[in-house]
Symmetry: D2
Subunit: 117 residues, 4 copies
């Protein structure tokens, strides 16, 4: 995926429609969270087994694809509006996670996942 | 950004820590939405003007960068677990949006943004 | 719970601190969603069994209590700011749900819960 | 609002439809967050002024009423499933907030609302 090209295309899409006025950081954060809510809605009543089986239904999978696309679109727009490089942000976070959760300590225990810790 | 390489790196990170058991579609959707909630928290009490001014504070911007990185990481993991191509999903969505919001109709009116429509 | 008394108390709390300026409908909706995100965070990596077992840990349960309280507080504030009666809203919704999901049809099938329907 | 009566009514509604199997803490937290996302969707593209003006449109206000009702319903169900008293939870939180944000310190400054603090 050419992230820079996609970012430009999304910016031009908004500019052509005079929608940049709506794309404030607050509004984009809200839109992203609303799409994350729609993603939850797909899975909320499913057992873990049913949730995994979603890949066998093209119709259900298309619902998920649409939500993931919307989330990525708003994520890229928000990064663009704030001048943030998603690539750099992810790289920095991954390096931090690698230091924070060394394999030998993180493996086979769920410390990270314990709400008490 | 090399999305395929990033997807592999995140998968290996989870595998090395035996964390794939936690990365079910349901859990990843929840984690993504939780990070979207943390993003909201940064902006929730700010005026639009203060929200835009966030780019002048390196500390605040770093908070946003971290949340965007977390959201992208969970987005990529969820796509990976479900065998979804984010690139194809976004392309399909963009083509649909272009048909749905033709410039001449969308420009200068806020129909899309009217909750009543 | 005396909802009207609670609503007044929350309004006075905000007024005394000159915080009503922050309590716009948009901001309160964001704050409520951010707290819902924190609630997700508590449960996101737990199995259903672990999530149920949370009631055995006073410390974990306190985390949940705090989030539920925050959500209810913002819900009441938002209703107050918009002049909405939560009691009437819930009553109307319950009557609709009773018509929409008659026991004989809803019982023993998960139609409501099928993302395809 | 008689919260205890409402809690009983919601429990009986779920029992009559054999829906208690779906009402796990995880699922209810997801459903609550998904409804919070729908609430965001109503406000996401509105200016603060437009968001306030929503009270002049009965149709828009009805959308908000429906979302607030759904959120309250899932909140009460989740509290019920975990044996949490919403009344006690809110009372404890309010007492904490009163200690944490004394009027003389909180008034006229936005410390709480400053992401840097």
């Amino acid at each position: 995926m050419d992230m820079a090209a996609l970012q430009n295309r999304l910016r031009e899409f908004a500019q052509a429609r005079d929608w940049e006025q709506f794309h404030t950081p607050k509004n984009l954060a809200m839109a992203l969270a609303a799409e994350a809510g729609e993603l939850l809605e797909i899975f909320q009543w499913l057992t873990d087994q049913q949730a995994r089986a979603i890949i066998e239904s093209e119709a259900d999978l298309q619902l998920v694809r649409d939500e993931l696309a919307d989330i990525l679109i708003y994520l890229i727009r928000l990064a663009d509006v704030l001048g943030i490089s998603l690539e750099d942000a992810v790289e920095a976070k991954l390096q931090r996670n690698e230091r924070r959760y060394p394999v030998e300590l993180a493996r086979g225990n769920a410390t990270k996942y314990n709400p008490r810790s």
